[in-house]
C-alpha cells in the first residue's frame, strides 16, 4: 500500500470516527444519568435529519436556520420520549425499561415509514459543505472537516457545563446516586429531562451532519449507526463524555483500517464493531476511560 493510499484511508477513518464520536456523546450522556441504553437514540437521529429535510423543502428556510430549528425540535421530541416511555418505568425492573426502549425504537421507525414513505430521499447539501478539497494526493470533502471541529466544540461546551455549572453538578449527582440526589433537593425529573433533551439535541446534530455527509434519508438509517455509536460509547467508557469521543474515533479507525489492510474482509465490516465490543466487554467492561464501581449488596 502506498503512503498516499494509507493517508487517504486514515483521513476516511478519522472522518467517520468523528461522526461516530458526535453521536456517541448523546448516548453516553443518557446512559450516564439513567443507566439506560436508549435504543431509540438512532431513531431520534433519523428524525433530526428528516426534520431538517422537510423544513428546507416545505418552509423554504435557509439551511442554517433549518439546522437550528430542527435540532431544537429534536430535543423537544427527546424530552417527550423520556416523559412517555421511560419516566413511568423508573422504578420498574431494568428489563421493562429495556423493552420499552426497543418498543419505542420500533414505533418511531414504523411511524416514520408510514409518514415519510420507505423510499429514500436525496438531501440538498449546503454548498459550503459540498466542496471537494485536495490536500496533496488526499481528497476530503469540506463537510468532513467541519464535523470534527463541531465534535470538539461540543465536547468543550459539555465538559464546561458538566463540571462548571450547577446543572452539571446536579447531573453528576443524579448519575452517581439518584435517591441521594433527591434527598439533596435536586429536582431529579427536571435534570433527567434536561439530559435527555441535550442528548437528543446532539443526536439531531449528528443526524443532520450525517445527512450532509451521506445525503440519503431513509427511515431505517439510524439503526446501524445507533448500534455502532453505542459500541463506541462502551469502548470509551460509558457515562464518560471524553470516553465517547475517544471511542468514536477508535471505532472509526479500527473499522476502516482493518478493511484497508484486509480488503477481502469488506463483507464482514459490520461484524468488526461487534467483535470489538465483545472483546472490550470481556477484558475491560468499564471501557477505556471508565472506572469500575463495586456493587454493594
Amino acid at each position: 500500500m502506498t503512503l498516499a493510499t494509507f493517508l487517504q484511508h486514515l483521513v476516511n477513518a478519522l472522518s467517520l470516527g468523528s461522526l461516530y464520536a458526535l453521536i456517541a456523546i448523546g448516548y453516553t450522556m443518557v446512559y450516564g444519568i439513567l443507566r439506560l441504553i436508549n435504543f431509540a437514540h438512532g431513531d431520534v437521529f433519523m428524525l433530526g435529519a428528516y426534520l431538517a429535510f422537510y423544513l428546507v423543502g416545505v418552509f423554504l428556510l435557509p439551511w442554517w436556520a433549518t439546522f437550528v430549528v430542527a435540532i431544537l425540535l429534536t430535543a423537544a421530541f427527546g424530552v417527550a420520549l423520556e416523559r412517555v416511555a421511560y419516566r413511568p418505568l423508573r422504578d420498574s425492573p431494568r428489563i421493562s425499561v429495556m423493552i420499552s426502549a426497543i418498543g419505542a425504537s420500533f414505533l418511531i421507525e414504523n411511524v416514520a415509514v408510514v409518514l415519510f414513505g420507505g423510499r429514500p430521499k436525496g438531501v440538498a447539501v449546503p454548498p459550503i459543505l459540498d466542496v471537494k478539497l485536495n490536500l496533496g494526493s488526499v481528497s476530503i470533502m469540506s463537510v468532513s472537516l467541519v464535523i470534527p471541529a463541531l465534535t470538539f466544540a461540543i465536547l468543550g461546551v459539555l465538559l464546561w457545563v458538566v463540571h462548571r455549572t450547577r446543572t452539571g453538578m446536579a447531573m453528576r449527582a443524579v448519575s452517581t446516586d439518584l435517591d441521594a440526589a433527591r434527598l439533596q433537593a435536586i429536582d431529579v425529573n427536571r435534570i433527567i429531562a434536561f439530559t435527555f433533551g441535550a442528548g437528543s439535541l446532539l443526536a439531531g446534530v449528528g443526524g443532520i451532519m450525517w445527512a450532509y455527509k451521506y445525503p440519503q434519508l431513509n427511515p431505517l438509517m439510524g439503526v446501524m449507526p445507533g448500534l455502532k455509536c453505542f459500541i463506541a460509547a462502551v469502548i470509551g467508557g460509558i457515562g464518560n463524555i471524553q470516553g465517547a469521543v475517544l471511542g468514536g474515533f477508535l471505532l472509526g479507525l479500527i473499522e476502516l483500517l482493518t478493511i484497508a489492510f484486509l480488503p477481502t474482509l469488506t463483507g464482514y465490516r459490520d461484524a468488526f464493531a461487534f467483535v470489538l465490543l465483545i472483546l472490550v466487554l470481556l477484558v475491560k467492561p468499564s471501557g477505556l476511560l471508565g472506572s469500575t464501581a463495586a456493587e454493594k449488596v
Binding site: 414504523n110 462502551v234 461487534f274 465483545i278 466487554l281
Partner: protein, 355 residues
C-alpha cells in the same frame, strides 16, 4: 376422587381434545389457515425458548435470531438432496464435504438443535458474566456476527442467494408435536428444583449465590437449552417455508418473538402459548390495515406499514400499563379456571399447592 386425580383427568381430557383438534385441522383447514396454524406452533416453540432465558432466568438476551439461523441452515444442509444442492449452488461450487452429507428429518432436526446449543454454549460462556444492558447488546452483536458470516460464506451456505427446495417435512403433526414437547419440557423444568434455581437467579443473584447455587453454571445451562430450542424452531420455520436466506434472520425476527413473550407475560408458560397463537393470528387478521381504510366518515389511502405501527403501540402499551402481560408469571391451572367459573368447583381441588 382426590384433587390430584381430578386434575390429572382434566389434563388427559385436554390432551385428547388437542389431538382431536389436530386431526380436524389437518383434514378440514384449507392450506392458508393451516399455514397460519402451523406458524403458531413454531412461534410457541420460539416464544418458550426466549421465555426460558428472559423470563425464567432473567437474562435479557437479544440474540435469538442468530441461533434460529444456525439451526435452520444446519437442518437445511443436512436434509436437502444432492440434486437440490447442485441446483442451489450454481454460482459457487459447494464445499465438497457438504455434498454427500445427508440425514433423515428427525436426526437432522436434533442436529440443528445441537449445533445451535453448541453455539449458545460458546457464546454464553464469555458473555453471560455481563450485566443486563451489556448482555443485551453483546447477544445482539453475536446474532449480527452470525448473520454476516452466513452471508459471506458462499461455499457453505450459498450466501445471499439462500437455499431453496428444502424438503417439506414440517407438517402439522411434526410442528405441533414439537410445540407440545417444548411446553411439556418447560412445565417439567419449572416444577423441578432446577427450575427453582433459575427463578432464584432471576429474582436475586447475590442471594441465590449465598444459597449455594452456582449462578454462572445455571445461566449457561439455561442459555444453552434455550439455544437448542431456538435452533429447532428455526429449522422448523425453514422447512415450513422451504426456502431460507440470511436476510430472514434479523433483529426484527427476535423482536417479533420478544413481542409475543412480553404480551403473554414474561415468566409464564401458558402466557407464551396463548400469546404466540394470538399474535400470529393477529398478524394475518390485521393485514387489512395496510390497505385503503374506510371509516364510513372518511377514507384513507393505502398506508403500508400501519400494521407494524399497531403492534409497536401494543407492545408499548403492555410495557407501560400492564407490565405483567397477559398472565404475569402465573400459570393457567385447573384451579384457576374453576375459580373463574369455567369449570365445576369439584375439579379444582382446593387444597394442594399451586406452583
Amino acid at each position: 376422587m382426590t384433587p390430584a386425580r381430578t386434575r390429572l383427568t382434566w389434563s388427559l381430557a385436554a390432551a385428547a381434545a388437542f389431538v382431536a383438534l389436530l386431526v380436524v385441522a389437518d383434514g378440514l383447514f384449507d392450506a392458508f389457515t393451516l399455514r397460519v396454524f402451523n406458524l403458531c406452533a413454531i412461534y410457541v416453540v420460539l416464544a418458550l425458548s426466549l421465555n426460558l432465558v428472559n423470563g425464567f432466568t432473567g437474562l435479557f438476551s437479544l440474540g435469538h435470531a442468530g441461533f434460529m439461523a444456525v439451526g435452520a441452515y444446519t437442518c437445511a444442509l443436512l436434509t436437502m438432496t444432492p440434486e437440490q444442492k447442485e441446483m442451489n449452488f450454481f454460482l459457487e461450487p459447494m464445499a465438497p464435504w457438504l455434498a454427500g452429507l445427508s440425514l433423515p428429518f428427525v436426526p437432522a432436526l436434533l442436529a440443528a438443535g445441537l449445533v445451535a446449543a453448541l453455539l449458545g454454549f460458546l457464546v454464553g460462556a464469555p458473555v453471560l458474566r455481563l450485566k443486563d444492558d451489556y448482555l443485551a447488546i453483546a447477544t445482539l452483536g453475536f446474532a449480527e456476527i452470525i448473520r454476516v458470516v452466513l452471508t459471506n460464506t458462499q461455499s457453505i451456505t450459498n450466501g445471499a442467494l439462500g437455499l431453496k427446495g428444502l424438503p417439506a417435512f414440517a407438517g402439522t403433526w411434526v410442528v405441533w408435536s414439537c410445540a407440545a414437547l417444548a411446553a411439556a419440557f418447560m412445565v417439567l423444568l419449572t416444577r423441578s428444583s432446577y427450575g427453582r434455581a433459575l427463578k432464584a437467579v432471576r429474582d436475586d443473584e447475590i442471594a441465590a449465590a449465598a444459597m449455594g447455587i452456582d449462578v454462572f453454571r445455571t445461566k449457561v445451562v439455561s442459555f444453552t437449552v434455550s439455544s437448542f430450542m431456538a435452533g429447532v424452531g428455526g429449522a422448523l420455520l425453514g422447512h415450513v417455508l422451504t426456502t431460507i436466506d440470511p436476510k430472514m434472520f434479523t433483529f426484527m425476527l427476535t423482536f417479533n418473538i420478544l413481542l409475543v413473550v412480553v404480551l403473554g407475560g414474561i415468566g409464564s408458560i401458558t402466557g407464551s402459548v396463548v400469546s404466540a397463537l394470538a399474535v400470529t393470528i393477529l398478524m394475518e387478521v390485521l393485514r387489512f390495515l395496510d390497505g385503503p381504510l374506510d371509516f364510513l366518515v372518511f377514507q384513507t389511502e393505502g398506508r403500508p406499514g400501519l400494521r407494524m405501527v399497531v403492534f409497536s403501540i401494543l407492545l408499548m402499551a403492555v410495557v407501560l400499563f400492564r407490565q405483567r402481560g397477559l398472565m404475569g408469571n402465573r400459570e393457567l391451572s385447573w384451579g384457576m379456571l374453576a375459580k373463574v367459573g369455567l369449570l365445576p368447583r369439584a375439579a379444582a381441588g382446593e387444597e394442594g399447592p399451586r406452583c
